[in-house]
Symmetry: C2
Subunit: 97 residues, 2 copies
């Protein structure tokens, strides 16, 4: 689910909160010394993940860039016991400094 | 706004309809001979664009792959005469055959 060189604690899971809540989490991770942070989101939260990445690099950290964007399809169990497909995204942010 | 080698008529603008409506448009473009189709979306429609790309390549056209995903921030005029920022995405689908 994640790259070889990426520790799991560098992941930020984007859900139903507002983008600024995740922006804060990302800035904190970079300021704690991370070279890369991966935003992960599913379904409707994908738009929020893109908003979050754009806000970080344009408004707060000009030395951060989007290194990679990967999309995939995950199968989730639904209430009826069957499975439904949901799209997911992983946005890798790198700090160039 | 688009790549050098991409004609504007290869773009599919994803809005508020359901993913399947855009899936149909993309399949039609590939079947008409296009080697590449670019999905473009803004704001909440970004999630729909990712859903659309995932459905095309997993369910309908296995020889189509995501070649590139670019995000950016666009400034739109709002009703009050000011500007507001909106995220956008461009997903380039390539047919390998």
């Amino acid at each position: 689910m994640h790259g070889d060189t990426m520790a799991e604690d560098n992941a930020v899971y984007v859900g139903k909160k507002r983008p600024m809540d995740y922006v804060t989490a990302i800035i904190t991770q970079f300021n704690d010394g991370s070279d890369a942070v991966v935003l992960k989101a599913r379904g409707k939260a994908i738009s929020t993940a893109v908003d979050t990445a754009e806000i970080v690099r344009h408004r707060f950290m000009q030395d951060v860039e989007i290194d990679d964007i990967i999309t995939s399809t995950e199968q989730l169990e639904n209430k009826e016991g069957g499975t439904s497909n949901v799209s997911s995204i992983e946005i890798t942010l790198n700090r160039s400094s």
